[in-house]
């Protein structure tokens, strides 16, 4: 649009003189055509007068049934004179009572086969006009200029290798850099960036924001929008492990006709009524949509992620509880082997995180592996099965008895699978837990049963390790959701236990490393690098303990002998802390820091977060009104090879020296700065005081009222107080 030019001497005098054509061109108003309810039906049989009435009746009946009510005299079939006979022209106009019926007619009747040679073609009247008015000349689409994308992993190039986090408070979403004990450095913020919450993609490339119309991914140094996915009412999302695909779920079935005209509409009629959509994050294209499978009568709470991804992203699968597991291939989105795997009663499944192509010499399976379990039915025992994909070959099974529930827990490399089996005694009066540990890192996959006498309320593998931690309880209050009179549930007395794979004896088995009794913890958070663990007491109203454990704390040199005998000697509770109102615990991706947050979504007061180091030392704390969410930005796998990492580890001293010097310099500078500002403040204050005191004294002297001292020092009155106390009283009768 050309820039508006003003001639101050020659303003138009009346409104009519103003030339509005440019504005009208730029903002054309849609004319109300009123033809929305009109459709044209083509390929109607050509009939002569004698059959015309019959055909009209047939058509009316057909159309009314398939689409909706037609206006009175709404069906008009033009005729022409041919060889002296009046014959119909082979098409007719239908005027419906409303536009929805017209829409339905196009949807239902277009392509309808009336008889062998007549297939109806139904079009909107306005469309016909539109298409006939189209230019027949082929115009080559303009090639869009290639725009270089921003470096999506720019945050990894930070010179100090710091980590970022996203914080959501009130209506603001902000990105910060962690600066340990100092106020975090602000990177970027936006008000109303999201409507519900935010989520990072698993490798940290994208920040996902949720909106009424869909979701958007953001990233790069400028935090621009990278791609947008239209999915009205989207509530939950899930990325595939390498961020290639995105699964979104909305509680509203897709309704193509309700997507406002003019906005981007990725859906076709095939997607009508579906609630789950799979997208390609790179192109933003819709790959396939799925309906929600109703298994029971009542709509159950949906379990998320609904589609679970294999680590290579080649396959993804969905459970139809009690019936089957549907395994799909990506990116073709077709079922593997064209059919689902029917498994009677199947209750849950999990993919092994092991990538068969990773070159891990402890992984023997040459394909993806998933584990599922089926509960007891009649005489059939409960069973845990490990299956290969795509061959669908059963690799290993294990039968179980008296089972209440199972939880499948893969170790992060897929070397082990622990099945937490909640069992009941024969009388069904008490429950206890067994751990069935499948060792997939051995060729024959031995299974070991570890009997835990108490109920296990939390289980977690050490990432990339072969140890695990559990929280057990024998508290009778377990499972009591609320005390009498609506009191908050009692705090369970729990124990935190660590187990390791004992190779020293003839029978290789998991044995306890160390158990810590008399705890209240109910959640486990391993450091992503292993070794360190935080056990937290969450969802309680009175206890907010955080316990920091170190599993490999080297004992002092003089105590090394004892350590050799006691396997658990290196396991230590190094710090017990408290964060009042804590609701969330998050390790940073490097395993050096932990952030505990108190979110307004779960707790009523004291919102904010604390930053701890892995030893449980409080580095920074901030109270933030209306604090909602804080998430560390994940990091992708390191690009260094094993050898390179080894080299770094070997020369760690040299590297750390450099970093320590840098830290020290920064620290010194910060301290110096702080001291300087403090000095300045103090100086300013006393200068002001001196001036003011002088002024006040002068003013007082003027009116002859000298200042009175606050308390008349020197005239202090000393009050002596005698206290008599009867120490003992004996009565003697004096003769």
């Amino acid at each position: 649009m050309p820039a508006a030019t003003f001639d101050p001497k020659n303003f138009p005098e009346t409104e009519e003189d103003i030339d509005f054509t440019d504005i009208e061109q730029a903002y054309p108003l849609p004319k109300d055509e009123g033809f929305d309810s009109l459709v044209v039906v083509d390929n109607v049989p050509v009939v002569d007068q004698s059959k015309e009435e019959k055909l009209v009746t047939v058509l009316k009946k057909l159309i009314t049934k398939a689409a909706g009510p037609i206006k009175e005299n709404g069906l008009f079939m033009p005729t022409e004179n041919k060889d002296g006979k009046r014959v119909s022209k082979g098409y007719c106009f239908v005027d419906f009572e409303n536009a929805e019926s017209a829409h339905a007619a196009i949807k239902n009747l277009d392509g309808h086969r009336m008889d062998k040679s007549h297939v109806l073609a139904v079009n909107r009247l306005t469309d016909i006009e539109k298409y006939t008015a189209m230019n027949d000349q082929y115009v080559e689409p303009e090639q869009e200029e290639f725009v270089q994308k921003e470096h999506l992993r720019s945050w990894l190039t930070d010179s100090q290798a710091r980590d970022q986090w996203v914080m959501y408070r009130a209506d603001d979403v902000s990105i910060f850099w962690n600066r340990k004990t100092e106020t975090p450095e602000h990177e970027y913020s936006r008000t109303n960036w999201t409507e519900t919450y935010v989520q990072w993609s698993p490798l940290g490339t994208y920040l996902t924001t949720f909106h009424r119309q869909g979701i958007a991914l953001w990233g790069g140094p400028s935090w621009n929008k990278i791609v947008r996915f239209v999915h009205p009412g989207v509530k939950l999302i899930d990325f595939s492990p390498n961020e290639r695909y995105l699964v979104t779920w909305s509680n509203e079935p897709i309704n193509v006709s309700r997507i406002p005209e003019g906005s981007v509409n990725p859906f076709t009629e095939e997607d009508e009524g579906n609630q789950i959509v799979i997208w390609d994050t790179l192109t933003g294209a819709l790959l396939r949509s799925f309906p929600v499978v109703q298994t029971g009568d009542a709509p159950k709470a949906i379990s998320w992620p609904m589609f679970k991804w294999a680590p290579t992203e080649k396959y993804f699968a969905r459970l139809v509880a009690g019936q089957q597991i549907s395994i799909y291939e990506a990116p073709s989105m077709g079922l593997v082997g064209k059919k689902s795997v029917k498994i009677d009663g199947v209750a849950d499944f999990e993919w092994s995180p092991a990538n068969p192509n990773s070159g891990d010499d402890k992984i023997f399976q040459k394909e993806e592996v998933l584990a599922y379990w089926t509960p007891e039915v009649g005489n059939q025992p409960a069973r845990v099965t490990i299956m290969g994909v795509p061959s669908k070959e059963i690799i290993r099974t294990k039968n179980l008895f008296n089972v209440n529930d199972c939880k499948l827990q893969w170790q992060s490399q897929g070397h082990y699978l622990a099945v937490k089996v909640d069992r009941h005694t024969k009388t069904k009066k008490s429950t206890f837990t067994n751990l069935e540990i499948f060792r997939l890192c051995q060729k024959e996959i031995p299974v070991e049963t570890l009997e835990i006498k108490e109920a296990v309320i939390a289980f977690a593998w050490e990432p990339k390790g072969d140890r695990f931690a559990i929280i057990t309880t024998s508290d009778p209050n377990l499972g009591v959701s609320a005390g009498p009179n609506g009191q908050a549930p009692a705090i369970l007395k729990t124990s935190v236990g660590f187990y390791y794979l004992d190779n020293s004896k003839a029978v290789v088995a998991y044995r306890p490393l160390k158990i810590f009794d008399k705890k209240t913890s109910n959640h486990l958070f391993w450091s992503p690098k292993g070794r360190h663990l935080v056990a937290a007491t969450l969802r309680s109203t009175t206890v907010f303990d955080l316990e920091f454990y170190d599993l490999d704390l080297e004992p002092a040199a003089d105590k090394k002998d004892i350590a050799k005998e006691d396997v658990g000697a290196n396991v230590h509770l190094i710090s017990t802390q408290e964060h009042y109102g804590v609701t969330d615990v998050e390790w940073d991706p490097t395993g050096r820091f932990v952030i505990t947050g108190s979110s307004m979504w779960r707790h009523t007061a004291d919102h904010g977060y604390c930053l701890w180091d892995f030893k449980g030392l409080l580095l920074f704390r901030q109270t933030i009104d209306k604090f909602k969410q804080l998430l560390w930005r994940p990091r992708p796998e390191s690009l260094l090879s094993k050898e390179q990492k080894k080299k770094v580890r070997k020369n760690l001293r040299q590297y750390s020296k450099v970093f320590e010097e840098e830290d020290l310099a920064v620290g010194d500078a910060a301290t110096a700065k702080l001291v300087a500002t403090r000095r300045k403040l103090v100086e300013q204050w006393y200068t002001w005081r001196k001036q003011t005191e002088k002024r006040v004294a002068e003013e007082r002297a003027e009116v002859g009222k000298e200042i009175k001292t606050a308390s008349d020092e020197g005239k202090l009155e000393v009050v002596e107080e005698w206290i008599e106390e009867v120490v003992e009283e004996t009565e003697e009768i004096v003769e």
Partner: protein, 328 residues
């Protein structure tokens, strides 16, 4: 050191005040009672009875002969400190929320509530320092903030030059009270003021507000000198006169919400802030309700706090307090 607990009130405290020497502590409460205590041992010297409603405020003159109180029974009363005799009762149209003697002890200001069609006022009454003399009924001056928000607290500047008023909307006004003229208005707080206390020489003052902050201002220019931002609504703020450059602030969650949370969540602590550096230095716990009023001993060796829980806690500073030195 363990504080002395003064258990002489059955309802929440509204104001406490030391006399000039600091040996006496006056406390008033919603239970209609005015008590006076020996500050060094917590022994009660006596009480002044006569008010028919909650007592909102108290002040004592510099020679500790007279005390004035203001109450919800629409009166201000003048008392003989020593005998407990009521020397004079001033009737007002509405409740008296704040009283203060001027530095010459010959006048006192009374802040009255805006209610039942009566505007809120700051009324200056003259006081005859002679205990035997009759007191005048007629006010010396009446300040009305016409149409503006009502005053909730007020105080005298040095040499009785001005009256500083704190208002319900968070604004502060400075008045030439003799000419009944508003000289200056600022709005440093976003919510109602709750307390105003002056430095010993009355050249600066501290305000506390429901907006969770306390601020220090110059009495003449009304320049904002310092601010202290906390995480809870504040009810009182006080300046330590000696030894340390501190301010003590206190408050807590609104009284009406107190029962819904634990004592810790209510933040019923006295917080010590470094006056110049604007950094929090420490907290003193103890009350199990919001803190309504704080007063520092004039010799700077201790402080007292009165809470919604009905207790006055009299603290004497430990030796560590006097040794404290911030790095600068």
């Amino acid at each position: 050191m363990r504080p002395i607990l003064l258990q002489g009130h059955t309802r929440s405290l509204t104001q406490i005040k030391y006399n000039r020497e600091g040996d006496l502590l006056f406390s008033v409460s919603k239970d209609k009672i005015v008590n006076v205590w020996y500050s060094h041992n917590g022994e009660r010297l006596g009480s002044y009875s006569g008010h028919q409603g909650a007592v909102w405020t108290v002040d004592v003159n510099s020679t500790s002969t007279m005390a004035i109180t203001g109450s919800a029974d629409n009166t201000a009363m003048l008392w003989n400190v020593q005998t407990g005799k009521c020397l004079k009762t001033w009737e007002f149209k509405t409740a008296v929320k704040r009283v203060e003697f001027n530095e010459d002890d010959d006048m006192a200001l009374c802040v009255t509530e805006e209610r039942m069609g009566y505007p809120g006022t700051v009324t200056v009454i003259s006081i005859n320092p002679d205990l035997e003399a009759a007191q005048s009924d007629e006010p010396v001056a009446t300040i009305v903030n016409d149409g503006g928000p009502k005053a909730v607290v007020a105080g005298w500047t040095y040499l009785n030059k001005f009256i500083i008023c704190g208002h319900v909307d968070g604004s502060i006004t400075q008045w030439d009270w003799k000419a009944n003229e508003k000289l200056n208005t600022i709005k440093p707080h976003s919510e109602s003021l709750t307390d105003i206390q002056f430095s010993t020489d009355r050249s600066y003052f501290i305000t506390s507000s429901k907006d969770k902050s306390a601020k220090i201002f110059d009495t003449i220019t009304l320049d904002e000198l310092k601010k202290y931002e906390t995480d809870t609504p504040l009810n009182s703020a006080s300046i330590t006169p000696k030894f340390q450059e501190f301010v003590i602030v206190g408050g807590g969650q609104d009284a009406m919400n107190v029962t819904t949370t634990s004592a810790r969540a209510g933040k019923f602590e006295c917080r010590f802030w470094h006056k110049i550096l604007e950094e929090e230095c420490g907290r003193v716990r103890g009350h199990f309700g919001p803190i309504n009023t704080i007063a520092v001993h004039p010799d700077g060796k201790g402080f007292s706090s009165g809470g919604e829980d009905g207790y006055v806690r009299v603290h004497t500073f430990d030796s560590d307090y006097f040794k404290f030195k911030s790095d600068h």
